[in-house]
Symmetry: C2
Subunit: 220 residues, 2 copies
DNA sequence: CGTTGCATTGACTTGTGTCAATATGCGTGG
DNA sequence: CCACGCATATTGACACAAGTCAATGCAACG
């Protein structure tokens, strides 16, 4: 296992690579993204500490996208062989990993719904609802407040919008006192209203113990 | 294993279900889709025969989306236990299945790029390029011609557009003699031009033997 | 033949993008 | 402690891709 530090903006893994290791985010914040030939960028996922953004590289030789640090981050690289070895010792691990990649895919689907069928306001609200829940799940959010070091341009690239429009929508959400946002701190002020605007349904995150959000029953 | 026939438009699996079986498409054509509370629909994937659209249900209890037949289709339902049993007998299977779900996820990412960052013309061109390649891979396309029984409304719901706009774009593509389209037959007339318009890069499909498309080298 | 589901058109609206200027905040070095 | 420079955020004016609505056409089918 190798530890490496990355500066803001640096690529951790690059599209086209054939990685021999998976990377585990220890501290910081990373994203996955793809570029079109003419430079348009689509951010595919955000990963707080604890995530393994390229678990797929275990079975897919070529990276079809990149992973980049969005703030100074520490990443652990774990050799594929070691992971394979571990799964042979503990066959349950394989299912745990597989499940992780399935939740990954479920999150992509949720984003697709947003990109295809939600308005700009709904998309931004939805992203904030998702990130809040995920940060809570790893104990990095308290009272609706969490730290997400992204620029408005990053949000635009994640949600298929322009930076200018993201700016305008954020102003609306702040004016309506749904959220407060002073980089890098995001505060959700009226969670229910935000979730209603976003039509947020956390089923897709497949969390075993959903934090008791109003109106959302825990799985049996 | 249970065989069942579905009519066009019928749901094979429904969001919220907790399936005990996976479904294998034997004949016909199915899609996965999600609905927003107000009825907006996003199609998430198309599945020709040979695909298992809900392999994920092996590990994710609740369906976070639905599967529907887009034409009369025959589907085989295979009990999760049987699949589990098979993977215990042949551990390699588990990796094959896992890999399938990873390619599924890679395809979602590719669609996200389209939904977020491609124009309507590019999106439609890209979808056609992808489907052509996937139909070729299962021997269901010949000379750039294949059969895909979708309406313009379906395409709209897959690509985040309106049916009217899809209609207009298709007319452009036909006028420019990139494609011909008489339901349910799609013919790609000038493949290179179409792929260039779409900025199509098939890496994400992770096919072992890419049909020798010009300019695309086979994997080492 | 009427009905039904799609495709096609035209007229008009609108959400979001683009461009370009200006503001704001922050870290650095003098 | 201030001045500078950079990145990011904010504004305003304007453009345009794509959406909406509603009518019409067309073909398959019972």
């Amino acid at each position: 296992m190798i530890l490496r530090d990355f500066l803001e903006g640096q690529d951790v893994v690059r599209g086209g690579d054939r990685p021999s290791h998976c990377c585990l985010v220890l501290t910081g914040f990373v994203c996955r993204y793809a570029l079109l030939p003419d430079g348009r960028r689509q951010i595919l996922a955000f990963h707080p500490p604890g995530d393994v953004p390229d678990l797929q590289s275990l079975h897919l030789q070529i990276m079809d996208h990149s992973v980049a640090a969005m703030m100074p981050s520490t990443v652990a690289f774990i050799a594929h062989e070691h992971i394979q070895h571990a799964t042979e010792q503990h066959p349950r691990l394989i299912h745990a990993f597989w499940r992780e990649t399935l939740i990954d895919a479920a999150t992509f689907r949720a984003w697709m719904i947003g990109l295809g069928r939600r308005s700009a306001h709904e998309r931004i609200a939805h992203l904030i609802c998702e990130m809040l829940l995920r940060f809570e799940a790893v104990g990095l959010a308290e009272g609706g407040v969490f730290q997400m070091p992204v620029t408005q341009q990053d949000i635009a690239d994640a949600l298929g919008l322009s930076n200018v429009h993201v700016n305008r929508v954020l102003q609306d959400l702040r004016r309506d006192e749904l959220i407060a946002w002073q980089r890098p701190m995001i505060a959700v002020l009226r969670r229910e209203a935000l979730e209603e605007l976003a039509m947020f349904d956390p089923t897709y995150l497949h969390m075993r113990n959903l934090p008791d959000a109003p109106g959302v029953a825990a799985e049996a």
